[in-house]
């Protein structure tokens, strides 16, 4: 590696995070710590029915007996669960505001600054947004439009009130509370998140999107999202996330469950840009996320696309259970780690039904002193006749102090299964840089171009409106100057 490349890398590591501001707003917070009282508090705040509180308490009793999963290639100090606030909401938020006139202007301002205007006329055309600030949903746009089609798009808190049957039937049906300690924790203390139901035969005409923002200090965000696509329906959903710069680590443990019934398709995209910590590795979000989709019906399809650039620690394996015959699961991932970031991310594809197919495209880019691991498990159960998987994992190393790791597990109990696996690890190529620069591109432009090219297969899976944003985000994650 020549000196100029090292200089550019150095400037990358001084990477500025432009979403690092704090909104000064009066918050309502109960005491720190995790116990039955706080769970009762959350449930009361959310005005939940008795069965929901019981559900939470059951999850909590499971959590108490569980240990954190240990398989990941991650290094971090022990999380002190008693040193975290489990609920934080802007004061006076006992009820979700009916419309924007009831929302504190400071909040609207926050989202404007983040580039997410809440006024519908200014919102990106064709995208409906639910915004979650710390523990509460602030606003959901285009609700009326969607209701006309029978689509339910609201915060999960609202759905518990208004659609208890759907919640009772599906919540925890894909990720049981006792799955592992983070899912148990989330089930006990989840605060808000989105709920989507697409009725039979309806193609949702716009992108649905949730924007998560952690603002308050020492506060965990435990969001819960549930998406149900009924027979023959289609929905594309996108989530984005940011948090202020802080020296302490903050915990984010989300659960996302998707259910696709017969002939239904769910496309779920994530652009994760939580605060990654500074160049010394101080601060940043611990992102422990469980995302799982169930292709319950025949010919159903679930596709996960993620662009992971933020968080000090990412622990995340969006997975598909391919139960229905001919169902399809896809996972497209770009994970960029810089400085001291650590990412252990990948997917689990469980083939249960006949002729099920899965496809995994993972692109890991490591810079600075970061560690980037792809971890995947593809399993074929006994009845999964003629199931297929294609996996491609590519890693790109920029600099010589970072690491890339690939850990693919394959488990087949059916000998008609077809499995293809390709993997590559490469360093950013000096000849490519030389070539680009000889054409007049700056060193930074050249790196950004090459990395974007490396990720293209994944980025092109994102909804149009966000593909451009994601490309920019990829460049920003590499560049030092933007912000």
């Amino acid at each position: 590696m020549n000196s100029e490349t090292l200089n550019t890398l150095d400037s990358y590591s001084k990477n500025k995070y432009k979403y690092g501001f704090v909104t000064k707003i009066d918050e309502e917070k109960p005491k720190k710590g995790l116990n039955e009282d706080i769970i009762k508090f959350i449930s009361l705040k959310k005005n939940e029915p008795e069965w929901m509180l019981e559900w939470r308490l059951k999850a909590f009793s499971k959590w108490k007996k569980m240990k954190e999963p240990k398989w990941a290639n991650l290094n971090f100090p022990k999380i002190d669960y008693q040193d975290i606030y489990y609920y934080s909401a802007p004061k006076g938020f006992d009820k979700k505001p009916k419309d924007l006139s009831e929302v504190d202007p400071k909040l609207i301002d926050t989202y404007n600054k983040l580039g997410i205007p809440l006024e519908e006329q200014k919102v990106l055309a064709g995208v409906a947004v639910d915004v979650v600030f710390d523990s509460v949903s602030v606003a959901t746009t285009y609700k009326g439009e969607l209701e006309k089609l029978g689509i339910i798009f609201c915060s999960i808190g609202e759905a518990i009130q208004t659609h208890p049957d759907l919640i009772k039937k599906y919540l925890g049906s894909v990720i049981p509370a006792g799955d592992h300690s983070f899912s148990a924790l989330n089930s006990a203390v989840f605060t808000d998140g989105s709920f989507v139901y697409i009725p039979e035969g309806v193609k949702c005409p716009m992108e649905l999107s949730t924007y998560f923002r952690i603002n308050a200090e020492n506060t965990g965000q435990f969001e819960r999202t549930l998406i149900i696509a009924d027979k023959g329906s289609y929905v594309s959903y996108l989530e984005g996330c940011t948090a202020p710069k802080r020296d302490d680590n903050q915990l984010h443990a989300a659960n996302v469950e998707l259910i696709a019934l017969e002939d239904a398709e769910i496309k779920y995209s994530t652009v994760q840009n939580w605060y990654p910590g500074d160049e010394e590795g101080k601060g940043g979000i611990y992102n422990f996320v469980t995302k799982r989709g169930l292709c319950a019906g025949k010919n159903s399809k679930i596709s996960w696309t993620q662009v992971e650039t933020g968080s000090a620690i990412t622990w995340k394996y969006p997975s598909c259970i391919l139960k229905g015959d001919n169902s399809i699961g896809e996972f497209y991932s770009v994970a960029i780690t810089n400085n001291f970031q650590q990412a252990d991310t990948g997917t689990k594809m469980t083939h249960i039904g006949k002729n099920t197919k899965s496809k995994i495209i993972s692109k890991g880019i490591s810079l600075g002193k970061s560690q980037n691991t792809y971890r995947g498990e593809v399993s074929f159960l006994r009845k999964a006749d003629k199931a297929r998987n294609y996996t491609q994992c590519d890693s790109l190393l920029v600099g010589n102090q970072c690491g890339a790791h690939t850990v693919p597990y394959i488990d087949s109990k059916n000998n008609t299964a077809v499995i293809e696996h390709e993997a590559s690890t490469s360093k950013i190529n000096e000849d490519q840089l030389y070539y680009c620069r000889q054409r007049g591109l700056s060193h930074e432009e050249a790196v950004s171009l090459i990395v974007n090219g490396f990720c293209k297969q994944v980025l092109q899976e994102l909804p149009m409106e966000f593909a451009v944003e994601a490309q920019k985000l990829v460049s920003i994650s590499l560049e030092g100057s933007v912000g």
């Binding site: 100029e4 030389y434 070539y435 620069r437 000889q438 007049g440 700056s442 171009l449 090459i450 490396f454």
Partner: protein, 246 residues
């Protein structure tokens, strides 16, 4: 003087490659450098373009009133230096259109010229491509990715004609080309040639010079230019090889 190379000595990994090399190129001139394999021809091209693997031991290079060693790779390119590579590298996932568009605009920016917009650029690219007999489908592919040797060379000439350099260095552009491809490539060069730009053509064979008429031919042996003259030298080499110059 447009390009002036004075007493240039260069080494790489403890091996002296260029030894007190001198070369002057004026505006509007076409120079050819011929020499046997390993004589330092490609090193000269890369030192001019600014590749960083080389150690400059001695000498000076002046390009358009700049001390060339004060400029980095991209600055040289923006000043109008273009290197058509002997082995163009593949850049998967990067489309030629935005790639060249950024390249042309970074040059215009340095020259304080207005940037060219998307639409005008797309038109320019299409028209230059069709001039060079390059299929529009090829423009949809990633830079050099999956191209044949001939396609890559044509693609280099396309980039050259878009960027319209003041000094174009062609590093063994003829190697690996069949006669048809050679004709397309050399046509491209001849079309681009004006009284305001200059070419430095590096080649092993005399064949290329049947199509591009150089004003000067230099023989390079063992890191220095040992003989300079007109195109009659090329004929001499064709007949007797490089033996008698060594």
């Amino acid at each position: 003087m447009f390009l002036e190379i004075k007493n240039l000595s260069v080494k790489i990994e403890n091996k002296n490659i260029l030894k007190s090399l001198n070369l002057n190129i004026n505006k509007g001139e076409v120079h050819a450098i011929m020499g046997p394999n390993g004589c330092g021809k490609s090193t000269l091209a890369n030192v001019l373009a600014g590749k960083e693997d080389y150690e400059i031991l001695n000498g000076k290079i002046n390009f358009k009133d700049n001390d060339l060693f004060d400029l980095n790779i991209e600055e040289r390119a923006q000043e109008g230096m273009f290197l058509a590579f002997q082995y163009p590298v593949e850049i998967p996932g990067v489309n030629i259109t935005p790639f060249l568009h950024s390249a042309i605009n970074s040059k215009r920016k340095r020259m304080n010229e207005e940037e060219i917009d998307n639409l005008s650029f797309a038109k320019l690219l299409k028209s230059k491509a069709s001039d060079l007999g390059i299929n529009i489908d090829m423009l949809k592919r990633s830079v050099n990715t999956g191209f044949s040797g001939g396609e890559k060379k044509r693609y280099e000439i396309l980039q050259m004609s878009i960027l319209n350099p003041d000094l174009a260095i062609l590093d063994e552009t003829d190697s690996g080309l069949d006669i048809d491809a050679l004709k397309i490539v050399t046509d491209g060069v001849n079309k681009l040639k004006t009284k305001d730009n200059s070419f430095l053509i590096i080649t092993h064979y005399q064949k290329l010079l049947d199509y591009i008429k150089p004003d000067y031919v230099h023989v390079m042996v063992n890191g220095s230019i040992v003989k300079s003259g007109g195109s009659e030298i090329a004929a001499e080499i064709e007949k007797d090889g490089f033996q008698k110059f060594q």
